[in-house]
Amino acid sequence: MTIASFITKNALRNKRRALLCVLSVAVSLFLLVTLQVALREVTLPPEDVGAALRVVVRNKISISSPLPARQRAVIERIPGVEAVSPFSFFGGKYRNEESMSFAQFAMDPKLLRKIFGEAKMPENQYAAFEADQTACILGKVTADKYRLKVGDRVPLTSTLYPCSIELKIAGIYEGTIDDRNLLFHHKYLDEAGGSPGWVAMWWVKVRSVEEMPRVTEAINRAFASSSAEVRAETERAFQLSFVAMWGNIKIMVHSICTVVVFTLVLVTASTMSMAIRERFRELAVLKALGYRRRELFAFILAESFGLAALGAIIGIGTAWTLFTHASIAKLTQGIFLTFEVTPRIIGQAALVAASLGIIASLAPSIAVARMSVVEGLKTLD
């Protein structure tokens, strides 16, 4: 019998206990990884591929104040600007739904590929979308959710504009960072009674990354003392400013995560020290046989560490496998899209598991150090 097999045998002596231990570590770490991944996705939205070359222009007052349509020509004339498209949030409710379940934007279909380039869609669907003013294209996630296909009609009632519209699906796209949205003709919005002459935002494609700061600056300056002052910023900055709107909720979720981890560490550590305390009699026997304290500590640590490591492998492994291979967009009905388990998050969880192994072995180690052989032999399990 080797030391290792002795430790293994000891750890598995009470199989139920060992199983509960490993499972609770696994559940805790699974939860930890899930929360971290969700928080990361909410606070650090995934960056779109062409984002580095896109500038978002909105009214300086706030996003809900519109911009006059005449600004488009002014922006287009700025050197370095490749294309400008209106981009208005429609805020429509689908059929008789209580609330908005996916976003719809009115824009210029001719510039779809130039500005928002990375959507995968058959060529004929692109053409069909451009040709028909009442047409729209829909992301695959939403299309799957409502079992919609090309040719179907999508009735929408706006919560922002005093109108209802019905759009025909000309294409279903995928392969963008957010395959949930619906895009349709801005012209149609104007005609349907949106607010002709006004748009919510301008999305601008810039020719090169080097020209970005200059173009942004130029757009801001162009309307500096007009009745509609604008704020132009990179798509990323625009995204992140939205995240900041979450306010205290973010901090609260963070502190809740901390409490969650603490609770689970506490519970698991107590379970593990209990498992080890059960083993007092053997430890006393070992002491009687001439083992030194140091070696007993090593026994305890190895067992506690082994249980934590096994739990970590199961918990983190399950999370990683699930989030990497299952379609999270489908599972969460499009609330979360990528749900990426980053190496950093795995590292964090592993670190928690390692500290758990150490913390759990502390109490029994101290008790063993104090224990006399006779006393230990008397301990009943």
Binding site: V27, I61, G247, V260, T263, V267, E278
Partner: protein, 387 residues
């Protein structure tokens, strides 16, 4: 026949370390559950606290928030003098057409920004909202670019001190006072003169109309008259009802709370299970002895279930106590209706605590079920075998 409780109690004390860990575990689970749910309750409360039962709110059909509602001047003229709307001493209708604009402003404590609602309001509008009071400075003077901001909002937004100035678009506004909304939705607003607001934000239209109606029947009549008038694509409903429906933001918080509670309770169940399994293991001979003395399986089973439930109940009570200091603590997040900053507070109701306790007991029962079954299945003969 049940075993006496002090039997459980003393056993619990003997295994105090595991017991404390279990109790603390359950306590934290319950505290997290209660706190997250109390946020949702607080949000709903702030909506429910808003509104006067004598008032009727009129908004554009289909709009979900005042800031996205539009009412034209013609529409306002049309209904302003309807007989269902109450009149003041001088025969003027008590009605206010407000304009609500969302503006982006920097936060106080960081470089981040927040959306804040500015309400352009008339004197009648202020009379219609008597729960709002001035707590510092003075009210704005019509025709001047002055605002009165909510005191709670001032704690979170930069340049909201009385006397300070802030920029919105190309205009500069001066804060002349602080208001208190008595824990209503108005705690999340900035008030200024209606005409001034329409001029600086280029609004031809109003956002909403608030009217005092003669009585409840008149309110219903007003609603049905608007509904049937083809010229008015509007919707009228009691102000109280309008605000109490604005609770969409509470939903994801509730879901988060339930998710956390479920996931954490699995851990807590494991803890309770372990503690009780250890308890059963250590008491094997005792249990056998009790069986020899004539105690039935059922008694042993219920004794362990009661022990688990009580342990968890103590944890639940501790969890309530732990979360209690957060009661009334004010906080804010983005509203899913108006997309603007909404201020609300943790609100721990007795019902919420009761739910927390029920939840704790459930965790205790589930956690103790398997160990209790194991204990009950022990044959009396173990009393004699295991030494």
């Amino acid at each position: 026949m049940a075993l006496p409780l002090r039997y459980n109690l003393r056993n619990v004390i003997v295994r105090w370390r595991a017991t404390i860990a279990t109790i603390l575990g359950v306590a934290l689970v319950v505290a997290v559950y209660i706190l997250v749910q109390s946020l949702a309750v607080g949000l709903e409360k702030s909506s429910r606290n808003t509104g006067d039962s004598r008032n009727v709110m009129i908004v554009r059909k289909g709009s979900t928030a005042e800031s996205s509602s539009q009412i034209t001047r013609e529409q306002f003229q049309l209904l302003q003098y309807w007989p269902q709307i109450a009149r003041d001493g001088r025969g003027q209708p008590i009605v206010s057409a407000d304009v609500v604009v969302m503006v982006t402003l920097p936060r106080r404590e960081s470089t981040a920004e927040a959306h804040v609602l500015i309400r352009g309001i008339t004197p009648a509008g202020m009379k219609l909202r008597p729960q709002v009071s001035l707590v510092a400075g003075r009210w704005f003077v019509p025709g001047r670019r002055e605002v009165v901001v909510s005191q709670r909002l001032a704690a979170r937004i930069a340049n909201f001190d009385v006397g300070a100035q802030f920029k919105t678009g190309s205009h500069t506004l001066t804060v002349v006072g602080w208001l208190d909304g008595a824990r209503s939705a108005f705690d999340s607003e900035v008030w200024m003169d209606a005409n001034e607001a329409r001029s600086i934000y280029h609004r031809d239209n109003y956002s909403s109309i608030l009217a005092r109606v003669v009585n409840e029947t008149a309110g219903a009549a007003l609603a049905s008259r608007i509904e049937s008038d083809k010229r008015l694509p509007l919707r009228a409903l009691p102000e109280v009802q309008y605000y109490s429906a604005q609770t969409m933001t509470a939903m994801p918080i509730r879901i988060l709370g339930n998710f956390l509670a479920t996931a954490m309770s699995i851990g807590a169940v494991f803890a309770a299970m372990n503690t009780l399994y250890a308890s059963v293991g250590a008491r094997t001979r005792e249990i056998g002895t009790l069986r020899v003395l004539g105690y039935r399986r059922r008694s042993i089973l219920s004794s362990f279930l009661v022990e688990g439930a009580l342990l968890a109940l103590v944890g639940g009570i501790l969890g309530c106590i732990l979360s209690l200091p957060m009661h009334g603590y004010s906080t804010g997040t983005i509203s899913f209706e108006s997309f603007s900053e909404v201020i609300f507070e943790f609100s721990l109701t007795p019902w919420l605590m009761a739910k927390g306790l029920i939840f704790a007991v459930a965790v205790g029962l589930v956690g103790s079920l398997l160990p209790a079954l194991r204990a009950a299945r022990l044959p009396p003969i173990v009393a004699l075998n295991s030494v």
